[in-house]
């Protein structure tokens, strides 16, 4: 328990905790400094997320060079103290999350100013930064109870963010999410309690070492069941998804983008982490055949998500149901549990964060400029907002899994992984869902480019002229669109990291 100067004073040693502390401090500062000027909140949020992104990038490089980094909270040695761990696996996810949050913050200035009442903007940024600190904490922590606390921090700030939507249905969406999210989190903490009864420890590494002896104990199996159900509720796996569509539809644009890109992805990450690093692959494959259940559930999620998305008229709701389908891809790769499929699953966390974040940013830009959310009203928007709609088209192609886009890479790894594991019957599921994805995105692309102008657009000012979204919004959206293509063409970098992470997870 020595308070070594190396751990406390040197900035390099404290990088893992600074990733959390900086957004957290900024969240506290936001309401205060916004008294100076209302746009200070945005500058603060951008700076904080940018620093967090740089720190997480440096952490990722440290991990690639020198292996797992561990930080002892208050210098208390694990398993007693809380430990922050950065390995291949979560270092990658951390960098992705930090990057996406930075880009979305950069994008959001105008959108927030328009959609959030002026006196609430300081508090909006406070909750926003708290949300980001929470998701980063979920990724980085090595203590399972600390994980629960971060899950609740994220959720609570999330409820506040959703309720700031303009439509009054946002309030009910937030309330329903609160009820279901609390059920999920309480199941999680109940499962953690049972794990603590069985092992007497809360440190994830320690749990992994102590659990295998008692795998046949009913306490451990009950704990696992509670944690799985709780997490599936939080990540909106198909039958437990009912909170998600309304949340994505009615929250402010920037919140939809942030939540679609990060929150469910992070919960999927936690699912992977608990399945494979707290429990071991033998447990999930042999002792409790949860992967078999998860394969069925994922397939149902993939098909049903795409099917319901087909019938939507509101574009935000369509993207929300599409997200439910995409979550299925991530859990499917995890459930197949071979190295290739797992790589596909991990790379899909990055890819889907890129694609869905970007698509919601496009919708945010359209809402900012025209207030349109119905697909029918979007007719003729291709001429009006050419750059934004180009980004949308790239995102749509990527979601379908068009070659040379990121969506293709993850589907390729998932499909080859499924075939490699002898589960060829999963390939048609992927194909059918891709076709349905093509259908529902084509409806939008068709109405944007190949129809006349809708009545709604005719009523706007200067219906004939190009009327692009503000520069900041367009540039960030196009940047993500560019990355969708860049990582589709030169995928070796992220794939390499994801492969290592998959090997780490499967313990080989």
């Amino acid at each position: 328990m020595s308070f070594g100067p190396t751990t406390f004073i040197s900035a390099a040693g404290s990088t893992p905790v600074l990733v959390i502390v900086i957004p957290l401090l900024a969240a506290m500062l936001a309401p205060i400094v916004s008294r100076i000027h209302r746009s200070v909140g945005w500058y603060l949020a951008t700076t904080a997320t940018f620093i967090a992104f740089l720190l997480s990038l440096s952490l990722l490089y440290t991990v690639i060079d020198g292996g797992t980094v561990s930080y002892r909270m208050g210098s208390w040695a694990p398993p007693m103290g809380i430990e922050y761990v950065v390995s291949y696996f979560n270092g990658f996810v951390l960098a992705v999350i930090a990057f996406i949050s930075f880009i979305i913050t950069l994008y959001g200035k105008k959108s927030v100013e328009q959609e959030i009442p002026e006196q609430k903007i300081p508090f909006f940024y406070s909750a926003y930064l708290l949300f980001i600190a929470g998701i980063m904490g979920i990724v980085i922590t090595g203590d399972i109870f600390n994980l629960y606390v971060f899950v609740e921090i994220t959720a609570l700030s999330g409820y506040a963010l959703i309720a700031m939507g303009k439509d009054r249905k946002a309030l009910m969406a937030s309330y329903n999410y609160l009820i279901l999210g609390t059920i999920g989190a309480t199941f999680l903490v109940l499962g953690i309690g049972y794990l603590y009864i069985a092992t007497g420890t809360l440190n994830m590494n320690d749990l992994m070492q102590r659990l295998p002896e008692i795998y046949d104990s009913t306490t451990v199996i009950t704990a696992f069941a509670f944690i799985m159900v709780g997490l599936c509720l939080k990540l909106a796996l198909f039958p437990l998804h009912i909170w998600l569509p309304n949340v994505y539809t009615y929250s402010p644009s920037i919140v939809s983008a942030l939540m679609a890109a990060t929150s469910t992805k992070v919960m999927a990450f936690v699912l992977l982490r608990i399945m494979f690093t707290v429990f071991t692959p033998e447990f999930v494959l042999e002792v409790v055949p949860v992967t078999k259940i998860l394969i069925v559930m994922s397939c149902v999620a993939i098909i049903m998500g795409s099917l319901i998305a087909l019938g939507q008229t509101n574009i935000k709701r369509m993207l929300a149901y599409s997200s439910i389908g995409q979550i299925g891809y991530i859990t499917l790769g995890a459930a197949i549990a071979t190295e290739t499929a797992m790589t596909g699953s991990l790379i899909h966390i990055l890819n889907h964060a890129l694609m869905k974040g970007m698509l919601f940013m496009v919708v945010g830009a359209v809402v900012y400029k025209t207030g349109i959310v119905n697909i029918k009203d979007m007719e003729g928007l291709g001429k009006r907002m050419p750059w934004t709609m180009a980004a949308f088209t790239i995102g749509a192609m990527s979601m379908i899994g068009f070659p040379f886009t990121v969506g293709f890479i993850s589907k390729w790894y998932l499909a080859t992984g499924a075939i490699g594991a002898g589960m060829w019957y999963l390939v048609p599921v992927l194909l059918v869902s891709s076709i349905m994805t093509a259908f529902y995105f084509w409806r939008v692309v068709e109405s944007v480019y190949f129809k006349g102008r809708s009545a709604r657009i005719d009523t706007l000012k200067s219906p004939h002229h190009s009327d692009e979204a503000p520069f900041g919004m367009v540039v960030t959206t196009l940047f993500l669109a560019g990355l969708c293509i860049y990582f589709g063409l030169w995928a070796s970098g992220p794939v390499e990291v994801a492969k290592n992470a998959a090997a780490f997870l499967l313990g080989s």
């Binding site: 508090f123 303009k166 609160l178 989190a185």
Partner: protein, 133 residues
């Protein structure tokens, strides 16, 4: 059988509390009653944690001359955190309910569903929304 029921009565109470709370969260239409259910639900979990910290014959976990077996203090500390989480969730939920009442004029879930299905997208009246942060 009697031993399982009486000897572990605290666990039975915890299960009963959780089920009562869970039922209220799902089945009640009144939004405030759902939150009451949520509190009971979370209290059940707190009871579980506190129960498991008891060591038979254990005393208060303060190191002093007599020594002896101590109760495990960790679950209590964990539950302090969980209580804070529960309180803040309740606060957020109640703040939401106030805003829901102001914009819908009711806090019955079934009536709100009817109102939502009848009218389209309706914005929150701004002067009402601004009273609560």
């Amino acid at each position: 059988m009697i031993e399982i029921i009486l000897g572990k009565y605290n666990y039975w109470i915890y299960i009963a509390l959780m089920m009562i709370g869970f039922y209220a969260m799902i089945a009640k239409e009144n939004l405030v009653k759902k939150i009451l259910g949520m509190n009971i639900f979370q209290t059940g979990v707190i009871l579980l944690y506190v129960s498991i910290s008891k060591v038979s014959g254990g005393t208060v976990p303060i190191i002093w001359d007599k020594g002896g077996p101590y109760d495990n203090p960790l679950p209590h500390v964990l539950m302090l955190t969980a209580i804070v989480v529960s309180v803040s969730t309740t606060a957020v939920a109640l703040a939401l309910i106030v805003r829901i009442y102001k914009s819908y004029g009711t806090i019955e879930d079934d009536q709100i569903v009817v109102i939502n299905s009848h009218d389209g997208d309706k914005e929150i009246p701004s002067e009402k929304a601004s009273t609560i942060i």
